[in-house]
């Protein structure tokens, strides 16, 4: 058998066949590679944004045992709780006193004191002010409150600022104070049980000398900055805690990966933070403020709430414009319109409108709604109108498809038993097309939710620190907040932006899930 076949196959034909099969495999491979690239980008996007966002959903808080002195905390007496809730400076005063008590050495210079207070921003005391206002009975007592750590130090503790090389020394054999204040040694030398050669090698490998890297030595709550090290002896300047803590301890050494000039926090601030962390006063927890706060100029206390509310108002206006008008237009075009030139023009026009860039709708909003009609800038009302016009074609196209899917027999039957055309449409066709229309509308709304460019042009980028109360108030929307945060200069805005994106995508996924469920539940095959 085989031989008879092979007689018709010349060697050239076989070679050619192999070549053709190779081409076939190659072609298929190209397709697979394309899909792999596209899906790979999707995975990269999800992973890179997700990993950034995770860091923003938790943060570090410092606990303070504050004695709520009524004269500092309640300027108008304990009865005026509103004044207590707004008394940020009074609470910040307490926080600063508490910090200075923990690190008294910082009082030696003004600059150092300012650095110390930088551990917690002023506005981070708002929650404790509000809590006190809710429980005025706490006045005069000592209460434990928590305040968020400054964004840069928070990132440092999360390990997102720089590489840090850590190593343990062997136990300290002796310490030798070099300079002292009444409180104890401020500069000291220590010797350890084993040689310090390993540390010297590590410092040389890191190029610590040339790059000006700082090295911190920590034993429990005491943190000192390394000044010099020889195989037998290590000299250091005490930054936090007491030199005594080093006696007999096993110190940890941290070689910080960036010189002090190239980061937004000083060696002192890192030392204090490490010391507080060792005392258990800094703890990592969920960052609820991200969801419950409005926007702020400080990344550690900024939240998305105002933007969510703004987006909700915008979407309400969009839905109340685009859905009724879109469905009405679809019903007219599909069920009533005579086949005339005019309807032909409307049809072409709607298809074209669906492909007009969204920013052009923003220009329309700026020129017509703001300039001609004099509507307020930055208001969800105008944003909703613009997005409503933007989604209108999408909803018309989806609704027409849903109406077209209802078989003509339904209409014929209704007309046959004496219904008018309007009755046939509204009593029979529309209810059957409703699930399809609704699905299309929800998907259209989900797209509108992610739309950013038109909102920029009607001024919805204004900084809004308060939750808007109505659709005519100044507001911003979630995607605009994402844009605004992404332009923030501080590093901490990056995880915040990613977190805002996660919130935005969560809403979009939920809307799409509802649409899919509707389709599954009510889809009908005729």
């Amino acid at each position: 058998m085989t031989e008879t076949v092979s007689t018709t196959r010349t060697e050239r034909a076989t070679r050619r066949l192999k070549q053709r099969y190779r081409a076939e495999r190659r072609f298929k491979l190209y397709g697979q590679i394309s899909i792999a690239i596209a899906l790979g980008f999707l995975a990269l996007l999800v992973v890179s944004i997700g990993s950034q966002a995770i860091s923003a959903f938790s943060n570090h808080k410092v606990s303070f045992d504050l004695t709520l002195a009524p004269e500092t905390v309640a300027p108008n007496g304990p009865g005026d709780t509103e004044a207590i809730a707004e008394n940020v400076s009074g609470f910040y005063e307490l926080v600063r006193e508490d910090l200075l008590e923990a690190f008294p050495a910082a009082s030696q210079s003004r600059a150092l004191e300012t650095e110390l207070y930088g551990l917690v921003t002023r506005l981070a005391t708002i929650p404790m002010a509000r809590q006190t206002a809710d429980n005025p009975g706490r006045l005069g007592e000592t209460v434990t409150y928590r305040a968020v750590l400054s964004d840069d130090l928070d990132l440092y503790l999360k390990g997102a600022v720089m590489d840090e090389q850590r190593m343990r020394l062997s136990a300290v054999a002796a310490i030798d104070p070099l300079e002292a204040s009444p409180a104890g040694a401020t500069r000291f030398a220590l010797t350890t049980e084993a040689s310090l050669q390993q540390l010297i090698t590590a410092l040389e490998d890191a190029g610590a000398q040339d790059r000006g890297l700082s090295t911190l030595v920590q034993a429990g709550p005491a943190v000192a900055k390394l000044e010099d090290v020889t195989p037998g002896r290590l000299t250091a300047q005490l930054y936090a805690g007491r030199a005594e803590d080093f006696r007999g301890a096993v110190p940890t050494v941290r070689i910080l990966g960036l010189p002090e000039t190239e980061r937004n926090m000083t060696d002192h601030q890192i030392a204090w933070t490490l010391s507080l962390k060792d005392q258990g006063r800094i703890q990592r927890g969920l960052n609820w403020a991200l969801l419950t706060n409005a926007d702020s100029t400080y990344p550690e206390i900024a939240g998305v709430l105002a933007a969510i509310v703004g987006s909700v108002f915008t979407m309400l206006v969009t839905a109340s414009i685009a859905i009724p008008v879109g469905v009405g237009a679809a019903i007219y075009l599909e069920e009533f319109a005579p086949k005339s030139r005019l309807t032909g023009i409307i049809e072409v026009n709607i298809n074209n409108l669906a492909a007009v860039p969204s920013i052009v709708f923003g220009l329309l909003g700026a020129a017509v709604f703001l300039n001609v009609f004099g509507f307020p800038r930055s208001a969800p009302l105008v944003g909703g109108l613009v997005l409503g016009l933007l989604t209108l074609p999408t909803i018309i196209i989806a609704s027409r498809a849903a109406l077209r899917a209802v078989p003509p027999s339904i209409r014929d039957a209704a007309l046959g038993v004496g219904a008018s055309r309007t009755q046939a449409v509204f009593h029979h066709v529309l209810p059957l097309a409703a699930p399809g229309i609704l699905t299309g509308a929800i998907i259209g709304m989900a797209r509108a939710l992610g739309e950013t460019a038109p909102l920029l042009l009607i001024g919805m980028v204004a900084f809004v620190a308060e939750v808007p109360a109505g659709p005519a108030d100044e507001a911003t929307a979630l995607p605009v907040l994402v844009f605004k945060w992404s332009t923030g200069a501080e590093r901490a805005w990056e995880p915040n932006t990613a977190a805002a994106i996660v919130v935005l995508l969560t809403f979009m996924v939920m809307m799409n899930a509802v649409a899919v469920l509707l389709r599954r539940r009510f889809e009908r095959r005729w």
Binding site: N349, I350, S486
Partner: protein, 471 residues
């Protein structure tokens, strides 16, 4: 005196809700009245329409005139108030130039919604604000009153028609059809609004800056209102769209071919929705992805290229915002657009053509290349044109990742700017609507609109012309 205070209190009322409440109440009342009136005819000989339709008819005639009046108020109300106030202003204001006057009136309007304590300091300003409030209240009251009168007049007119043989249903259905027609008309009105507003604002711009220097000028410094030569922006848009298409066209096309010709139904059911997820992600997210991940990679890459021995140092600037990052990410965004449109087109090619090719012994790839693709070509071209139009109009990715520097450069790793970026840059922040700076944004918007419309129309023509070839 009492009346003035009442008017001022009236000025603070939320007109939107008030009007809404009046309309709903009017509609409900007239509906009930019509239904009750017609209910007496029940059983009468020759009753043409159900009582409900009589109710709807009355409600229609009440609500529509009132609503039209209120819409007129919404559009003209503030203008009328303003011109009344201008007439009442003290003599000194007559010498003010119109711009300063309108700014002053804006301040008055803003102050009027605040606590009186905040503006009672300046006596003249306070008096004018008081007057403004009184006038606003008066115009508001007049608007509502007119709406009420219009509604009542409509009601009275329609009420007289109700009788047992009145064809209420036909009337209501006609009204409903008109309403639906207006809905469809809003889509047209939107297009008209876009064209008219862009066109007239552009005309105002071109009355200050010659068209020729806009279209062919090589320098763009709109922020300082010096140069308005848009060529660098057109160039930037072109470069970024080109990069995006270089990514999206091959990947999108090969994905579509693989999905429709090779993939098993099961893997297709997974891959297609996943690809469409790429289309559902908001562009602002892509923009963030570009600056977070892609731009740093490109910076490193251009540094590496510069270090190569045969490339002179500094050929690639590798700035932190660059055309390549924006273009690449935009390409990824457009992949699903190309793939799903081409997928539809390829699926529309009749199976008989493929069967014929297979019967002649062609392999799958040969069938695709020599039979399916030529048949699907018009549709594929249309898909690519629509994708180009998408790339040209895309805003957020370029705003975030491409930068603001208008320059004509062949280096894709340098900062570059596009039409859309400049529109956003020119129109964010408070700006006068008369300055050439703001108007230039509209001229850019107009060119963008014309450009995308051009591509869309060609695409639609191509599709229509070739659609029925194989049916």
């Amino acid at each position: 005196m009492m009346g003035r205070e009442m008017l001022q209190a009236f000025a603070h009322l939320p007109m939107g809700w008030l009007a809404f409440a009046v309309l709903v109440a009017g509609g409900c009342l007239s509906f009930l009245s019509g239904r009750t009136a017609a209910a007496q005819f029940r059983g009468a000989k020759g009753l043409n329409s159900q009582p409900n339709y009589h109710g709807y008819y009355l409600a229609m005639w009440t609500v529509v005139p009132a609503a039209i009046t209120l819409i007129a108020y919404a559009i003209f109300g503030s203008g009328v108030t303003r011109s009344l106030l201008t007439g009442d202003l003290p003599d000194g204001f007559a010498s003010l130039d119109p711009n300063a006057l309108s700014q002053y009136l804006d301040r008055v309007r803003e102050a009027s919604s605040l606590d009186p304590a905040s503006w009672s300091g300046e006596p003249v300003f306070a008096a004018i604000t008081q007057r403004f409030l009184t006038l606003t209240g008066a115009v508001k009251a007049a608007g509502l009153g007119l709406a009420l009168v219009a509604g009542l007049a409509g009601f009275a007119f329609a009420r007289r028609k109700i009788s047992s043989d009145f064809r209420a249903r036909k009337q209501v259905e006609n009204g409903l059809q008109w309403l639906l027609f207006i809905c469809a008309g809003i889509a047209i009105a939107t297009t008209l609004g876009i064209v008219v507003s862009l066109f007239f604002e552009s005309l105002r711009f071109f009355s200050q800056i010659p068209v020729f220097s806009f279209l062919f000028g090589l320098e763009w410094n709109a922020q300082t209102e010096v140069d308005f030569g848009a060529v660098p922006l057109f160039f930037g848009t072109f470069v970024i769209s080109l990069i995006a298409m270089c990514v999206a066209a091959p990947i999108g096309l090969y994905s579509a071919i693989y999905l429709s010709e090779y993939a098993s139904p099961r893997s297709r059911a997974w891959i297609k929705p996943l690809l469409e997820v790429l289309a559902g992600i908001p562009t602002v997210v892509y923009g963030f992805f570009a600056i977070l991940v892609v731009a740093p990679l490109i910076q490193d890459f251009s540094g590496w290229l510069n270090a190569l021995p045969f490339i002179p140092d500094g050929t690639f600037s590798g700035s932190d915002k660059n055309a390549l990052a924006a273009g690449l990410v935009m390409g990824v965004m457009i992949i699903p657009f190309v793939s799903s449109l081409s997928d539809d087109v390829i699926n529309a090619v009749p199976q008989t053509l493929r069967d014929g090719a297979f019967a002649m012994g062609a392999t799958k790839s040969e069938t695709v290349k020599q039979v399916v693709m030529p048949a699907a070509l018009p549709g594929v071209i249309a898909a690519l044109l629509l994708a180009v139009s998408r790339a040209i109009g895309e805003t957020m990715i370029v705003v975030m990742a491409a930068g603001q520097r208008p320059q004509l450069t062949a280096d894709p790793t340098s900062e570059i700017t596009t039409i859309t970026v400049q529109i956003v840059a020119l129109l964010t922040g408070d700006s006068e609507f008369d300055s050439p700076k703001t108007l230039s944004a509209f001229a850019l918007g107009f060119s963008l609109f014309v450009l995308t419309l051009f591509f869309n129309l060609i695409a639609m023509r191509v599709v229509n012309r070739f659609r029925e070839k194989y049916d």
